[in-house]
């Protein structure tokens, strides 16, 4: 039922921000990267439809599709069993032989928000929730500040962590006293352009269709994303038997083509994480894709007053949160020809720090690791199914 694929674009990609594109001035449509998982979910869902049925318009109007397909993709108004379990930027492993059926890829993780860069050095440090800080702030009640007890200038870190970097991060295992990561474990700054993607702006002109001429005075630019060779998306799907082992899908704006094939990845080692959680009775959740929560930044199962909550028999107390700027996610409903409502999501890379009150490390990992914590609301259903809120468990 589960299928892991590696999607590689054949050309540039376009993941447009939500800004309308009208008016009498020059415009730039910017791209966001990586795209929300729902973009990839929708692309694969459409792919199944076109592969097995082929008539999008008919599907939209409620024509009956083969039952095995309907089971997986659902109807124009409801989701089927297809589920996006994981979506990450990934790159081919260098040793990858082309004869293998499943291409081996390395996963790249969005930089967690509790990592800070020591300004001007390119080195990174890990912030920890602090107890009894002398500085009082207007943090939400009960939350502790995230702190590094060194007299250095810090700034927000951006970029990606390699698999080794993520393992080190979740293990809470510093590379050296000066630098939490080894240099090659972080892809940030200029290295992003060398190793992951570049932005390309293309300028077009507004054409007057009636007169078949160029309209004077209007230029528009569209920003595309060009992934480096060997870089793509790793997506793990569940609930599908029909998805072929390889094929071409149309991804994002302009329906740009991308090829996919089966992929395999190595799993994160859990032993050290488990051991540390057991010893320290503390754990953290890091989101690798954006998550929707009913109460904005706060998951609904966490009590507002006590900051305590239970999930799958594990009882925890929230003590700190490293939250990035919320992202608005909506999109366009092709079937209804109507924009979907925009919701504020907690961005990927955000980290929730917990104390473990009841349950052991195994139970905690069972409850949270490689699961979706995203919640769904009536106006934005099935966020977990679409790949939102995928989280990993780490020690702190």
């Amino acid at each position: 039922m589960s299928k892991a694929i590696f999607i590689e674009p054949l050309d540039v990609l376009l993941f447009r921000e939500g800004k309308p594109f009208t008016g009498g001035e020059d415009h730039l449509a910017r791209s966001i990267f990586p795209p929300p998982p729902s973009t990839v979910y929708a692309a694969v869902r459409s792919h199944l439809l076109s592969h097995r049925f082929g008539r999008f318009e008919a599907f939209k109007q409620g024509a009956s599709v083969p039952p095995d397909l309907a089971r997986e993709i659902g109807s124009p108004t409801a989701f089927g069993t297809l589920e996006l379990r994981r979506l990450l930027v990934a790159r081919r492993r260098e040793s990858a032989g082309s004869h293998e059926k499943a291409v081996p890829v390395e996963l790249l993780y969005p930089m967690p928000n509790d990592v800070a860069e020591i300004k001007g050095t390119g080195r990174h440090a890990l912030l920890k929730p602090a107890d009894g800080s002398p500085v009082q702030t207007n943090l939400p009640r009960g939350l502790r500040p995230l702190w590094l007890a060194k007299d250095v200038h810090l700034e927000a870190a951006t970029g990606w962590l390699t698999e080794k970097g993520m393992q080190r991060y979740l293990d809470d295992d510093a590379h050296s006293p000066d630098s939490f990561f080894a240099a090659e474990e972080v892809i940030a700054g200029d290295r992003i352009r060398q190793a992951i993607f570049t932005r390309e702006e293309r300028t077009g002109i507004a054409r007057d269709r009636a007169r078949r001429s160029v309209r004077e005075g209007l230029l528009y630019s569209v920003e595309y994303v060009r992934l480096k060779s060997g870089v793509g998306f790793f997506a793990e799907f569940d609930g599908t038997k029909l998805l072929p082992d390889s094929g071409t899908i149309a991804l994002g704006g302009d329906r740009r083509p991308a090829h996919y094939q089966l992929a395999r990845v190595s799993d994160l080692a859990l032993e050290k994480i488990r051991q540390r959680i057991e010893e320290r009775r503390r754990l953290k959740l890091v989101l690798t894709t954006p998550a929707l929560f009913e109460h904005g930044w706060r998951p609904q199962w966490i009590d507002e007053r006590t900051l305590e909550g239970s999930r799958n028999g594990v009882r925890v107390r929230l003590v700190a949160v490293a939250l990035g700027k919320p992202v608005g996610i909506g999109g366009f409903d092709l079937v209804k020809q109507h924009p979907k409502p925009v919701h504020r999501f907690v961005p990927a890379g955000s980290v929730y720090f917990f104390e473990l009150l009841e349950g052991d490390a195994d139970a905690a990992i069972q409850a949270f690791h490689a699961k979706s914590v995203s919640e769904s609301v009536e106006t934005f259903p099935e966020t977990a199914r679409q790949g939102f809120g995928h989280s990993l468990v780490g020690a702190w």
Binding site: L28, P134, D151, P339, P341, H343
Partner: protein
Amino acid sequence: MDYRAVMGSVDEVVDELRKDYGDDLEKLYLALWRELLPRLEAKRERDGMGQLWEVLPADTRVPDHSVWEHRRVTSAIAGALPKPAFLLFALGPVQSFIATARKTQDLWAGSYLLSFLSWQAMKVVAEAWGPDSIIFPDLCGQPFVDLWLREEKGLKLTEEPSMEALSSPTLPNRFLAILPTDEAAQIAQRVVENVQDVFKNICFTVKRRVEQVAGITPDDEWNRIWQRQVENFLETYWAVLPWEEDYKQFLETFKTWCSPQQEPWEFASIVEQYEKAGYTPNIGTCYSKLYALTERGLGSRKATRDFARQVEPHFKCTMFAELEPVHLAEHTDFGKLRQFWNTRMLPRLPLLRSGERLSAIALTKRLAAAYYFKVPKSEGGLEWNIETSFPSTSTVAVSSFKERILEALSDGNMQLFDRMNRYVTRVRSVLGDERAKSAPLSRVAEAAARAHRRIPDLPWEFARLDGDWLFEESFNKRDLQRELIERWKDDPAGLESARAEVLKTLSELLDFARHQGLGQPSRYYAVLAMDGDQMGKWLAGEFAPHLREILHPSVWNELKLDGEWQKLGEMRRPLNPSLHLAISKALRDFSLSTVRRIVEDEHLGKLIYAGGDDVMAFVSLGDLPEVMRKLRAFFSGALTGDENQVDWITGSGFARTETGFQLTMGMAATASMGVAIAHHMQDLGQTLNAARAEEKRAKDVLGRNAFSIALMKRSGGHESFGARWYYVRDGSLYVDTLQCLIEWRDAFAKDDVSPKFAYVFREEARALSALPHEAVGREAHRLLGRHLSARLSKDQKNELSGRLLDDGLLRLFESGVSLDDLAKFLDLAVFLGREENR
């Protein structure tokens, strides 16, 4: 100088204040804060103090800050005793306020609103504990504050803030205050509440007005959208740090929370040396560390950007992509929504443009000036006299052309008058007054005022035309038909013939201008963004001078004989509150007066924002290098003489003013600048981002104290040239980069050098780079020789190539600027030297 005369002035001023304010202690206190110095300065001729009143040292042995900073900080701390605390507050989201802009008008409005809300935050503190308790920014003389002192506090300030001053955003989005520990957190909470309340009030005043003007009967849907968007928009962050009484204990606390990265810890050694030298340190000695810890606290607060749930259904605002445009319940689909905006809102709200559909936040940004700040108090507004229209990008682009035309008109060129008259009349008849207008730049308005003395009205009307209307392509038939549908609905055919007329009069005007040597209007303009380098470290005292440098020389000559003092002399002076305030004050003078004077009075430019060390402005290309160079020089006082000549090496660190000295950041401070030169139709957000990106490049890639200019040609291609402001060799100035650019620009403009030189140089740059330096010089001379104008004499040619190459370009090359970059430098000079861009 007569000591008695000086003290006589002090007595007189105190008497005057007493006479003006009687026993009203609050007024007296506010007057001492705001009026004492200007009143004393007014007596400078009589008491012989001349320009010295402002720079009187607080301590003659350590003359690094004035008595004015000293007394204000003392007053701030005295008010907060026995246990003072820091409050650091920040307001956001800055990006959404400022960069989310489709028009220059929105850009100004966003910064203005943010600056105003920032003042509303500070006002809570000023009301509760006095304006002196705010250390950063320096509020003294800020237009919002002066208005508050006059109108709400009853001070008799002689000058009302000018319309210009009151219309400009000059306050940063954060402040630092010293407050009593017991009350600091409470006050912070009140600050948050007040900012939210004021913002709501502004939004809902705009809302009511929109309802009135557009004839909307609000329903639940309409109200809900406003409520939801307004409530969730602002972000407020604060941090409070109480000052521990025992400084030794605080140093321990600091070590626990910010473990020093040096061994031994210099700061602790200084404090120790103080003790040994017989000074008694106290918690104030640890000021810089208290401040550093507070900054860290706020930084950590911002790492948790908590937010409430917000769902924005339906279609998207054309300014804020994540918000819904306001509408009524009946506008359920896109067609109805569009119709509502096109037929109800657009015709009744002249500040909207066709195709726009705005959220509550965007509407507030667009309309707050007209519907809140200027509105009578009886209708819930402020009744402020502010300039609400802001020049468009094309208006900035064409400003130097307009200035030349107006000058020529002043000189009585009657043929020009005829052509201008026909053109202006036609433009206004096609477009109507409202659509044709844009605010002129100050210098253009001045030129119009001069011409007006000779020829009434026409100069004004010409000055006020939007720059767009000097370009043929702006009179695109289809766009005009769409935009002017209401105006011409009774006579659609009339629009076409009027359009033909206006195009004819425009080309007559432009042709005439060319023949008269008045040039052509430019389609390009520049945005500049400047920022002090490493201001965080300045404010944390990391760049403070060594103690021996700030002691009075005669004091140091005595003390240096003592071994303990000798050690101390080599240490950095810990940041103290007066020094902190002196920095605030230098930045205040820079942002409140210097920047405006340079950008708007002395040159063709318009300030978008100037607060603290941060400056953003539009500049006409004709003045760009001059403006850049002056801004940087005035930032650190790299100036000499009464005329403020730029002097990068031996500048005084002060700027001379008509009445005295102005404090600057000082010669050790540096600043970097990014510039984007863009076509007036280029997406504004993109242009602003480009300017910021160039600023970042100047800092990160070029190593600070540098500038970088991106030339974004509309034909595509985006090239940037960056370099240090100047290069030094053997302790003296080797080359002044912008001065060199100016000389090349002028040489191209005068046709002394053919623009082909730039092209040939670029072609050869790669081949040249393999050659030894000497050979490069020879080859450059050979190439230039072939491109010098034939009308120059041999001597002139020699002088020119010596100045342009030996003292200019080749010195940049020797200083490490690559040939490839020099090719870009020349391209830029050619571009700036073109007829229309001068």
